[in-house]
Amino acid sequence: MLLSVKEASVYFGKVSGIRDVSIDVEEGQIVALIGANGAGKSTTLRAISGLKQPSSGEIWFKGERIDDLSPEEITMRGIAHVPEGRRVFPYMTVKENLEMGAFSRKDKAGIARDLEGVFRHFPRLRERLTQAAGTMSGGEQQMLAMGRALMSDPTVVLMDEPSLGLSPILCQEIAKIIKEIHAEGRTVVLVEQNARLALSLAQKGYVLETGSVVLEDDAKALLENDKVRETYLGGSD
């Protein structure tokens, strides 16, 4: 197993964000986490990337326990997190944002190669190199946030609601790029409100409800699960 969350719980004060969540991600998979607002999907990702330390449970990555590491140490081990709401550096240029993505890397040749890779996925970023990130549209910012994450040459990419607030056409483009990133050999953990989009991309899916995993199955099976269809896919028509 490349990445596994073992019975992790996260508390905010006395309120629990997630309770005993277990998730297994195999190398080369796309794994989708779906569920309503506030179900604990983002909190799970934040626990993996070290932004919020779990109060109990363990997180293992490449055979090493990582739940007590700081976010920057976890990033250096090969997990990149594209946070909810993009979170690009608004007053820095596109180029500087991408440069920050490769902050801890020293291999100049590798960085140059990955920069080209990012431009291949997102040609629009090359045209906007010197533009301040905060002045770009939501879709462009999403692309930049994904590009920035790729600049650390990660093994696993955690994506939190990449389709949030984007038009259907842009959603399709983002979906296409997620597939490309996956095709490069990277593992993806995808959190989505848009359950249909997420499950159609993923091999495996987890359904979260009020902070706990209530269902886990093949993505295809979940797409056809009646309960899932009714709750998250808007009824079976």
Binding site: G13, K14, V15, S16, A36, N37, G38, A39, T135, G138, E161, L164, G165, S167, P168, C171, Q172, A175, K176, K179, Q193, N194, A195, R196, L197, S200, L201, E209, T210, G211, E230, T231, L233, G234, G235
Partner: protein, 255 residues
């Protein structure tokens, strides 16, 4: 006559149009649902109506009074009160104290009165009223507990209780059942219906949980990309092709 009249309402942040030319009319005694995908501008809409944000354009009338540029406390004073998506309460107060603070609009107290205890009679009435609201939400056994010690579901219920204590004419609920389990959801749905039926309030709610919205609402407004996409009875909305596409994602999104 409509109790709430929204005309050409727009709100932009920098270059981003969060709400664009929204029109909406809510009849007295109605339960209105506002739905739409994440980031469609529903919460912005609530924030503008409740006065948390100033609109960039358009007008909002409540019961014939223009409220578009009033502050939130003035709007609440006129009878439009909203809850928040997040857990919004006073954590260091007990449940009863939380609700009693919600009685603020009905408890004019002068500083002089505060020091010399001249508002005692009024306070007793307010406490009585607060107790009734706590009972109404089925939280009687928790009334002396600190709000921060309540489980999540009860905290959400307390949010509604605080808003009810202001005795609004229009109650706006921002995702009242978000994060609740099915039992809690059913209970909250029942309470919202009672709020309209027994307390006679008009209710407008933003909600993600489709089942709750379809069950509860007399009429539904769909917002997408800040604009009104559709409006109608639940069964009309359920059958609307645009809505299905926008809200649920097109069936064959990944070619």
């Amino acid at each position: 006559m409509a109790i709430l009249e929204v005309k050409n309402l727009s709100k932009n942040f920098g270059g981003l149009m969060a709400n664009r030319d929204l029109d909406l009319e809510v009849e007295e005694g109605e339960i209105r649902g506002v739905i739409g995908p994440n980031g469609a501008g529903k919460t912005t809409f609530f924030n503008v109506i409740s006065g948390v944000y100033k609109p960039s354009g358009g007008t909002i009338k409540f019961d014939g009074t223009l409220i578009s540029n009033l502050s939130p406390d003035k709007i609440a004073g006129l009878g439009v009160v909203r809850t928040f998506q997040r857990v919004a309460l006073f954590p260091n107060f007990t449940v009863l104290e939380n609700v009693n603070i919600g009685r603020h609009l009905h408890a004019r107290e002068s500083l002089f009165g505060a020091v010399f205890g001249m508002s005692k009679q009024k306070e007793i009435e307010n406490l009585e009223k607060s107790r009734q609201i706590v009972d109404f939400l089925g939280m009687t056994e928790h009334q002396d507990e600190l709000a921060s010690n309540l489980p999540y579901g009860l905290q959400r219920a307390l949010n509604v209780a605080i808003a009810l204590a202001t005795e609004p004419r229009l109650l706006m609920l921002d995702e009242p059942v978000a994060g609740m389990n099915p039992t809690e959801t059913a209970e909250m749905t029942r309470i919202i219906r009672l709020i309209r039926d027994e307390m006679g309030m008009t209710v407008m709610l933003v909600e993600h949980d489709m089942r709750t919205v379809m069950n509860l609402c007399d009429k539904i407004t769909v917002i997408d990309f800040g604009e009104k996409l559709a409006e109608g009875l639940p069964q009309e909305i359920r059958a609307n092709k645009d809505v299905i596409e926008a809200y649920l994602g097109a069936e064959d999104i990944v070619a």
